[in-house]
């Protein structure tokens, strides 16, 4: 009976942990609650820039949080890039990515050198599958 209770407790704990690694991290009421949110496939991605206002010709970094809305595994990697589709080019700089915690990433070394419409791209990878998520940024 005691063993059954223990197993039940363990199972409950394991279930809770899985929940906290997936659904609870999809709750964006945390530190990134003011960040911009993108959803695609199983992923919900929230990011914030540092500094808050991105300026032309100034380096900035991103704090990124990714979670899955259907309980599928969290991504194990992410690539970040920015392009200017109207002019057919991207950045001159390649940001570095730090995988700081499950579902959490830091991208440093981004810089947009022109005013106008940019697309910020996130290639979210899990195993051998990559899903591209993107959002527009207008630089004035």
């Amino acid at each position: 009976m005691q063993l059954q209770s223990l197993l039940l407790a363990c199972a409950f704990f394991a279930f809770s942990s899985v929940q906290s690694a997936t659904a609870s991290e999809c709750d964006i009421t945390g530190s990134l609650h003011k960040g911009r949110q993108i959803e695609k496939g199983p992923y919900r991605l929230v990011f914030q820039t540092e500094p808050k206002n991105v300026a032309v010709g100034k380096f900035f970094s991103l704090t990124i949080s990714v979670c899955t809305t259907d309980g599928s595994p969290l991504p194990d990697g992410i690539k970040v890039d920015a392009t200017m589709p109207m002019h057919g080019h991207g950045m001159y700089y390649r940001p570095t990515i730090k995988h700081s915690a499950p579902g959490s990433f830091q991208a440093k070394g981004l810089m947009m050198d022109m005013t106008g419409s940019w697309v910020l791209r996130f290639d979210v990878r899990q195993g051998d599958k990559t899903i591209r998520m993107q959002t527009k940024l207008m630089l004035k």
Binding site: V56, G57, H87, G88, H89, Y92, P95, G109, M114, T115
Partner: protein, 380 residues
């Protein structure tokens, strides 16, 4: 009497009737968005902070010593060339030539020296990420001053006045430093001096400042042609895509569709080659010679990537003082400002190596629009 008065009133009203529409046609109205962009081109001069990678940046002794070095022929092997050979103060620190000549003629136009503290990259190809390294480059270039670190260090140790200047600036005798350290320190003194070359407030700045303070658009003495040119610069010309901010540049690189081929033969790789040189340089902000222990100023070099796109790209130059720095473009192939504007107006959009769409489009400007843009540029 009444008839005379009536006639006079008729003449006055006719004058008003004829003149008013002409006056309103001469008014240039800037939209809110254009006004915001104009204001973003100032204030001038911006606050210039000292360079953290150069411990003698802003130091009076270094500026004095740097000025003496800049004017002296001490740094060239033949003692026939100085920095002033190509950077003449009376020519806005350029030389007025299409391509610079030291020991021999090089493939590129001399860049004017002004407002250098605002640069992220130096040289047409950005092969230096700091001003002291860029100051060393021509000393060692066989086509320019053709010197070596050993030669320069030996000369300095044996030259009493320059040794004293070195000692006053770096608080050490040149005999206590190795050849490479001496060369870098001389570069830092030269940089300290060049940082003091700042262009003054211009008619454009006064117009911009007035616009920033008031809603009245027609205030000040800013010429009408310059206003029209500014309007075209911001609108049809879309020049602000690259020429932005107080220094009228984004500080990066692009392909202005000038010929690839160097007059001496071969192809000028532009930024592609510049990144290659930068990555091999011992004098970058990532090197031991950067005096900033945190190396925070080296962020651009750390994240810089070389791509096919960089082929044939050259630094977007500042437009400040531009009317005084002819001839133009990296190879000095365009003699006048009107030639430059006409070049963009009639641009050849075909470019063999371009991946996808290029940035620049033919502007198809009229002769009046070209003249107006030149009038605007002359106020910078």
């Amino acid at each position: 009497m009444m008839r005379r008065l009536g006639k006079a009133l008729l003449v006055v009203s006719m004058v008003i009737f004829v003149t008013l529409p002409a006056l309103s046609a001469n008014k240039i109205i800037f939209s809110e968005s254009e006004r915001a962009t104009i204001v973003s081109h100032g204030p001038w001069p911006p606050k210039m902070t000292s360079d953290p990678s150069n411990r003698v940046s802003g130091d009076k002794s270094a500026i004095t010593f740097g000025r003496e070095l800049f004017r002296s022929r001490f740094l060239s092997t033949s003692r026939r060339h100085s920095c002033v050979t190509c950077h003449k103060p009376n020519l806005a620190y350029g030389d007025g030539l299409a391509r610079s000549t030291g020991v021999s003629t090089v493939d590129r136009n001399t860049l004017s020296l002004a407002n250098l503290r605002l640069n992220r990259w130096y040289g047409w190809d950005g092969s230096s990420d700091n001003l002291w390294a860029q100051s060393i480059r021509p000393i060692l270039d066989p086509r320019e001053m053709n010197a070596t670190p050993t030669l320069i260090a030996k000369r300095l140790r044996n030259d009493a006045p320059f040794s004293r200047g070195y000692q006053a600036t770096f608080k050490s005798s040149p005999t206590s430093h190795d050849d490479e350290q001496i060369l870098v320190n001389l570069g830092k003194a030269l940089a300290a001096y060049q940082e003091t070359i700042v262009t003054p407030k211009t008619p454009f700045d006064r117009f911009r400042d007035t616009l920033a303070k008031t809603d009245k658009q027609q205030v000040g003495q800013y010429p009408l042609a310059a206003k029209r040119g500014l309007k075209t610069f911001l609108g049809k010309g879309n020049c602000g895509l690259c020429h932005l901010g107080p220094n009228f540049t984004n500080g990066e690189f692009d392909d202005a569709r000038i010929r690839y081929f160097k007059p001496s033969g071969g192809i000028d790789k532009g930024r592609f080659g510049g990144i290659q040189k930068l990555k091999k340089s011992p004098h970058t902000l990532s090197s031991r010679f950067n005096d900033d222990p945190r190396k925070a100023s080296g962020v651009a070099t750390r994240y810089l990537t070389r791509s096919h796109r960089s082929w044939g790209q050259f630094r977007v130059p500042s437009l400040r003082n531009v009317s005084k720095t002819a001839p133009y473009m990296h190879d000095g192939s365009l003699a006048t400002l009107a030639d430059v504007v006409r070049h963009y107006s009639n641009l050849n959009e075909e470019r063999p190596h371009l991946d996808g769409r290029g940035l620049l489009r033919r502007l198809n400007l009229t002769d009046i629009e070209i003249a107006d843009i030149v009038a605007f540029l002359e106020t910078l």
